[in-house]
């Protein structure tokens, strides 16, 4: 079990090294020159107006709230799915109750207009 995750850790660490490898080649090969216009932010060839780090409307934040609810639900369902076969009908009915409650939540969010992009 721990060995499995040691493998994953090695994969991530060695992988990060391999992804960074091209940068070593870039450092050797690529030309370097700099002047003010080159370092300007691209904005369709115009002088950029202001910064992108301004106030903006994150329209999907209601979606992400509903997402948190559903994602937690999905996490609960994973262990259930593994043992479901050995549990039988009673477990099925209880999970249906669980899902119905969540579906009611989805219907509520839908009716309240949380799922509209506006």
């Amino acid at each position: 079990m721990l060995l499995d995750w040691a493998y994953v850790a090695i994969f991530a660490i060695v992988g990060a090294g391999m992804v960074s490898l091209p940068f070593a080649i870039i450092a050797l090969l690529s030309p370097r020159s700099s002047y003010p216009h080159k370092r300007e932010t691209y904005e369709s060839g115009m002088q950029p107006i202001g910064q992108a780090w301004a106030q903006f409307n994150v329209r999907y934040y209601l979606f992400s709230l509903v997402f948190v609810v559903f994602e937690v639900e999905v996490i609960y369902l994973y262990p259930w799915a593994v043992v479901a076969r050995s549990l039988g009908p009673s477990a099925f009915y209880s999970i249906v109750i669980f899902l119905v409650i969540l579906t009611l939540g989805l219907v509520y969010a839908w009716r309240k207009g949380a799922l509209e992009w506006a």
């Binding site: 499995d4 040691a6 493998y7 994953v8 090695i10 994969f11 991530a12 060695v14 992988g15 990060a16 391999m18 992804v19 960074s20 091209p22 080649i25 870039i26 090969l29 690529s30 030309p31 370097r32 020159s33 003010p36 080159k38 370092r39 300007e40 932010t41 691209y42 904005e43 369709s44 950029p48 910064q51 992108a52 780090w53 903006f56 329209r59 999907y60 979606f63 992400s64 509903v66 997402f67 994602e71 999905v74 369902l77 994973y78 799915a81 479901a84 076969r85 039988g88 009908p89 477990a91 099925f92 249906v96 899902l99 579906t103 989805l106 839908w110 799922l115 509209e116 992009w117 506006a118």
Partner: protein, 326 residues
């Protein structure tokens, strides 16, 4: 086994998988994309470099390696630079649990985690962190919009994928990808779960940001989306991340629904690759056939159609597995 043999195996496996994905998925994938799009639009596609244009992407990579990489003066240098590593790394982490085939000594997989499917769901959504970092770090309006759209897309399409994964895990009785493939030796899950397969394909297309769900980098409105400001090899690494993710999603679809490495006569790895490329072709076919969705249509499609459908499908499957077939 002594620990250093295990460590050496892990390192060698990582290097093999990374190089294979970079060549088979990214380089060949880009070439295939150009050839398929050319074919669908009655063009020829690349022909000049190598026999029938086969070495085109290699030439492009060499060209990109020699390009200067420009960091915009307004960007946040730390976030801007680290996003380039995170996106391809997140895409490649998926391959830990993909079973490529089987040999006399056991299945050909980097590590058969007992929660493989859950692990895949977790790492495949990690890519959005890199995309958001790239969008925010560039301090470019187009890039920021692309990053935010990507997040909106991810929160919507993660749930149908999760529900489909649970449905398959329910049928197989396990979360290990190797077990899921073994269970399908007689009947592929596409036969018993056609609806799940279609939901998975649609959600996977959205999750890897490909047309008709490619709002993240909609060229006609956002220039290049979240990687507008990236030049040279950094641009190529984002491409590696995207194609790596697409191939990972297709590989998972093969594993879950198309029986993984199972098939007659030919070696198991060949069967896996045939199914993989068939699905990749479907992805490309869809991309060059359908126009792009609007963002509200995209979110509606997930929340008001795919999620209820996936929930219903899960309940019906659970009913058959737990009540009828007992």
């Amino acid at each position: 086994m002594p620990w250093y043999v295990e460590a050496l195996r892990a390192v060698v496996g990582t290097i093999v998988i990374f190089s294979a994905v970079a060549v088979v998925a990214a380089m060949f994938g880009v070439l295939l994309e150009r050839k398929v799009s050319g074919w669908i639009q009655s063009r020829i596609g690349p022909t000049h470099v190598g026999p029938r244009g086969l070495l085109q992407t290699l030439a492009d990579t060499i060209k990109l390696l020699q390009k200067e990489h420009v960091v915009p003066g307004n960007a946040d240098p730390a976030i801007f630079a680290s996003a380039v590593v995170i996106v391809p790394l997140a895409a490649l982490l998926d391959y830990v649990v993909v079973p490529f085939g089987t040999t006399r000594w056991g299945p050909l997989v980097f590590r058969d985690l007992n929660i493989g499917v859950l692990y895949f769901a977790a790492t495949s959504s990690l890519i959005v962190v890199g995309i958001l970092m790239a969008g925010w770090g560039s301090n470019n309006k187009y890039a920021l919009l692309g990053g935010l759209r990507s997040a909106a897309q991810m929160v919507s399409y993660e749930i149908p994928i999760g529900l489909v994964l649970i449905t398959v895990a329910l049928l197989a009785g396990s979360l290990s990808t190797v077990t899921i493939v073994t269970v399908q030796s007689h009947l592929w899950f596409i036969a018993s779960q056609p609806v799940s397969f279609l939901i998975f394909l649609a959600a996977a297309t959205a999750e890897v940001n490909r047309a008709p769900f490619d709002l993240v980098e909609a060229e006609s409105e956002l220039v290049a989306g979240y990687f507008s400001e990236y030049t040279g090899m950094r641009f190529a690494l984002f491409q590696l991340g995207e194609y790596g993710e697409m191939f990972a999603m297709a590989a998972l679809a093969v594993t879950l629904f198309l029986g993984g490495w199972h098939g007659p006569v030919l070696p198991s790895v060949v069967w896996f690759l045939i199914k993989l490329y068939a699905l990749i072709f479907v992805f490309m076919w869809v991309r060059w056939t359908f126009p792009r969705f609007r963002i509200d249509q995209l979110l509606n499609f997930s929340w008001k159609f795919l999620i209820p459908l996936a929930l219903l499908n899960l309940v019906v499957t659970a009913f058959f597995v737990m009540v009828v077939r007992r």
